[in-house]
């Protein structure tokens, strides 16, 4: 099946392409999936250096698997609820309206099945684009940011249903029948996931290291994949529910961060693989329609989101920014397209069409999102300040952590602890303090912790790089850094730290005092 090893020249070419594309994406600030697609197109249909093959197919399969696993990992119920409550009717309304618009539009140019697939694929906006740009712009915690992330989350949930329908045997056994069967199977897996979500934390987090927890999670992933396979539904759905089950763990944030690199890797290969599968004719056969469709996507998404956000009573700024952010199709449209091709529902020309629409809308919307401040002023808006969401952010949680929190609680109201430590999770469970089980090094976590607006940041033993970043990004809070590395104190103070507690020399002083007094503690 695998004709070559993973160190064949073909795979080498793909991995090198992925590296170059990723560097380019970083330099040009374009979404990485876009660059991966272009790299694949350039190498395959363009230059003909690489052909799609069994090994590449396997890797792209892995890409989808880990993508859905990762999406599942985002489905932490307690966090999901408040997000979805906000968007519970907006998201389906948007999807239905956009679906109708594009079903009508596409039916002029494509056969009915293809038109429906296109309409379905177009309803999604891109998490890759929105998350990345909002992170860079530090807007995830704004009202518009939270709103959009909620919508995208809802869309993610529906992807799984669509994939379930598309993969369950294709058209041959009748769409209705397969739909019912898939939904039933999804329900079954959901039940297993719930059972695991209940049992797994008791089994594992007590004494497992993060490293081991990760391998165990991959084990769970493949257990679900195996069950899905045996139940006759697609393994992607199994992967999704494995993710959902594990998302309920206290350690899920850190787990998410650990799964991310594997997903990044396989998704890069996935998009390059898609690029390779298409020929230049596939991509360009419907190019005129694609250009029109791209313009329509931009208009439709902007207008539909505007209407719905306004109806929901959001402020003018939120309505505007929230809508601008969503003006593109998703990488999911390509995923769904590829799945539909595999199920025999559409031909590669339609996949090429979807790809081209995604390429165009993602590029344009990246520019729009980047220029939204200017655009907003153009339409007469005034930018507002975001408000603080927490008073104190404590980064890290070492010995004495709980006592310090209690001392802080005498003086401040909201306290958030960011620490990827099982021990912290155990101690903080049931306490009045918010705990984010993750590393502050990740931008997403920084956004969520709200440390930039906090009035006090207490960093317990941060690594120097993180400490300097925190200092640079803090907007108005006092910063206390607790460190054991002597010699860094002055640089921290220069970088803006209000207080540096050098614990090593302070402990040393204390011990010295004991020595000087001949052994008596004060």
């Amino acid at each position: 099946m695998l004709a070559t090893t993973l160190f064949s020249p073909e795979i080498a070419a793909i991995v090198v392409l992925a590296g170059v594309a990723s560097l380019l994406a970083r330099a040009t600030r374009q979404p990485a999936p876009l660059l991966f697609l272009i790299a694949g197109l350039a190498a395959g249909p363009g230059l003909g250096v690489v052909q799609s093959g069994a090994t590449i197919d396997l890797l792209t399969d892995f890409g989808l698997l880990f993508l859905l696993f990762l999406i599942g990992l985002e489905m932490k119920m307690e966090r999901l609820k408040p997000m979805l409550e906000q968007t519970i009717w907006i998201s389906p309304a948007q999807m239905i309206m956009t679906f109708v618009v594009f079903a009508v539009f596409s039916s002029f140019f494509f056969p009915l099945t293809a038109a429906l697939v296109i309409a379905l694929a177009t309803t999604y906006s891109s998490t890759a684009v929105v998350l990345r740009l909002l992170s860079e712009r530090r807007e995830i915690d704004t009202e518009a940011g939270r709103l959009d992330m909620g919508l995208l989350l809802f869309e993610d949930v529906t992807v799984i249903l669509v994939i379930a329908v598309l993969t369950a045997g294709g058209v041959s056994s009748g769409l209705l029948f397969t739909s019912i069967r898939s939904v039933a199977a999804v329900g079954l897996l959901g039940a297993i996931a719930a059972a695991v979500a209940w049992g797994f934390p008791r089994l594992t987090t007590e004494s497992s290291s993060m490293r081991s927890l990760f391998v165990q999670s991959v084990g769970w992933l493949f257990l679900f994949v195996g069950v899905a396979e045996l139940a006759g539904i697609s393994h992607e759905i199994g992967a999704f529910f494995a993710g959902v089950a594990l998302a309920q763990l206290p350690a899920h944030d850190e787990l998410h961060e650990r799964v991310q690199p594997l997903t990044d890797l396989f998704m890069a290969l996935f998009f390059i693989g898609i690029g390779l599968q298409l020929s230049s004719t596939d991509l360009l056969v419907h190019w005129k329609v694609a250009v029109i469709a791209a313009v329509l996507v931009l208009l439709d998404k902007f207008v539909v989101h505007q209407l719905l956000f306004r109806a929901a009573g959001y402020s003018r700024e939120t309505v505007f920014r929230g809508s601008i952010n969503m003006t593109q199709t998703s990488e999911f449209s390509i995923v769904l397209g590829a799945t539909a091709v595999a199920a025999g529902l559409i031909d590669t020309g339609v996949l090429g069409f979807l790809t081209l629409v995604a390429l165009l809308t993602m590029t344009v919307s990246t520019v729009l999102i980047d220029k939204q401040d200017w655009l907003f002023r153009m339409v007469g808006g005034t930018a507002s300040q975001t408000t603080a969401t927490t008073d104190v952010v404590v980064v890290g949680f070492g010995s004495g952590g709980m006592e310090i929190l209690d001392i802080l609680a005498d003086r401040y109201d909201d306290i958030t602890v960011v620490a990827p430590l099982v021990d912290a999770a155990r101690q903080l469970a049931g306490s009045p303090y918010t705990h984010i089980f993750a590393d502050i090094r990740h931008e997403e976590i920084r956004q969520r912790s709200g440390f930039r607006e906090a009035s006090l940041i207490l960093a317990l033993h941060p690594d120097p790089e993180t400490a300097f970043e925190l200092l640079e990004e803090t907007e108005r809070g006092r910063v206390i850094i607790v460190t054991e590395e002597t010699g860094l104190g002055d640089s921290y103070r220069e970088a803006g730290a209000d207080t540096v507690l050098d614990l090593a020399s302070m402990s040393g002083d204390r011990l010295r005092a004991v020595v000087e007094r001949g052994g008596e503690d004060d």
Partner: protein, 511 residues
Amino acid sequence: MTELFLALSGIFIAAGIASFTADRLSIPSETLYIIAGLVLSPLVALPELELLAETGAVFVVFLAAMHLRTDELDAVAMDAFWLSAVQVLLVGGGAVAVAVWAGLTIMEAVLVGMACGLSSSMLGSNLVAVEVDRNLLHGRLTEAVNVMQDIVAILVVGSLPFWPVIGETIGAMAIVAGMVVAALVLGSRLRPLIAYVAEESETGLLFALMVLWAVVAVTEMLPFNTIVAAVVAGTLLSTHPENLDLLTSLEPVKEFFAALFFVVLGMLVAAPSSPALLLAAALIAVIGLVNPLLSMAVLYLRGVSPHDGFRTAFQLDQVSEIVLLLGLGLHVTGSVSDTVFQAVVMAAAVTFVVSSFTTHNVDRFYRRLVHPFVHVTPPVEHGDHVIVAGFGPIGQTVANAVEDPVIVDNDPVVLQQARQEGYETVAGDVRDPGTWRRAAVEAAHMVVLTVPLDDAAKLLSTYGTPFIALTASDDMADRLAEEAVFVRSAAALRRETLIEAVVNELDGWEG
């Protein structure tokens, strides 16, 4: 594809269970992966797995090489050189000779020799990482030996296809050595680029993989084995500290592939034959006993204290991951027999566990087995002195407050600094009774132990000298409360200091 996915499901479920169990038993998960593979082998069989496993192994070797720090090794370079030379030439070479004499083919003999003479960078760095300080003498020695042995390994692996033509073999070795040097030079030039790509996890990951695959492509053209490429690529990216974020992004990918590799390795062993078991036993004896004993002797002759020698020797007593990767390659192509392959894999599984066990209990073994036979004369002559053990930040502060203290530490770099500041020093591990005797502990007026090690504090309490100590655990601090002048666990001292400081700070703002 279905079949492959089911096979992978089996492998990763097994790996999950193995890793869960390994955590609870505190043993390296790699061993349990191999055992999981053994159990799994009758149930799952797919030829493709070997290819995936090979990728996994290359990854493991690549990451291990990335972890190795080539800077800061000067202090121990000569000791490490002699130690590597003895392990490789005497133990490894001896094993090759015996293997040939016993009727194995040259390839098999080389594999057996490498298994005996080389230790694992992957496990070595894991073992040192759990130590209090990677900078201690034995930590540095272990790391330096790992670096040297990895280079020897790829010199051998790289030249293997050209044997026994002497000219070509030497030529191949020269090219491989050139590649390592080029990687080191290029790596230090690329520091800014590595720091730039490492900022973002995805770019860093894909960049590192690009380097690995590109180096593999180039080495295969030359033509060398992927093992050479993995070590060279790892060396290229071993620029500390710029590569720390890269290592973080790569870690999950490595875990994924490492699990795959070790489980498949176990599956390939399947049911070992009795000659394989016999050979494995012999290998384990050489790796676990002969090799450490010889290493201790070498280090003793080089003037390293018996305690450090003992610790170092028992951190270098496993089969190298490079040998496993080579074995896998040779097994796939049929160059080594099932028996030899099985023996090497089983020896690896056993030595991983033994090595981790001996490292964790090294002091107990040392005190029972070696210490009674070590004779020490104290170089410190004057009595009524104060001993400050540990010359870290805390130790330095304390030393400042005391008149003419004797400094005890085990990090050669730190000792150098202490001597430059005019302190009298004793080099040695605080868990080693020999160290205390050399510092004339019984004649001392007071001992201040600033290195929080329970074993050391307990040992110190046996001398009857008044002492102030930091411990690792609160438990030990409680137990020594009666005997010590002052004792706290390091965590408690820090906790008390921190809370006091934070309260002061907050009060200061309010005031």
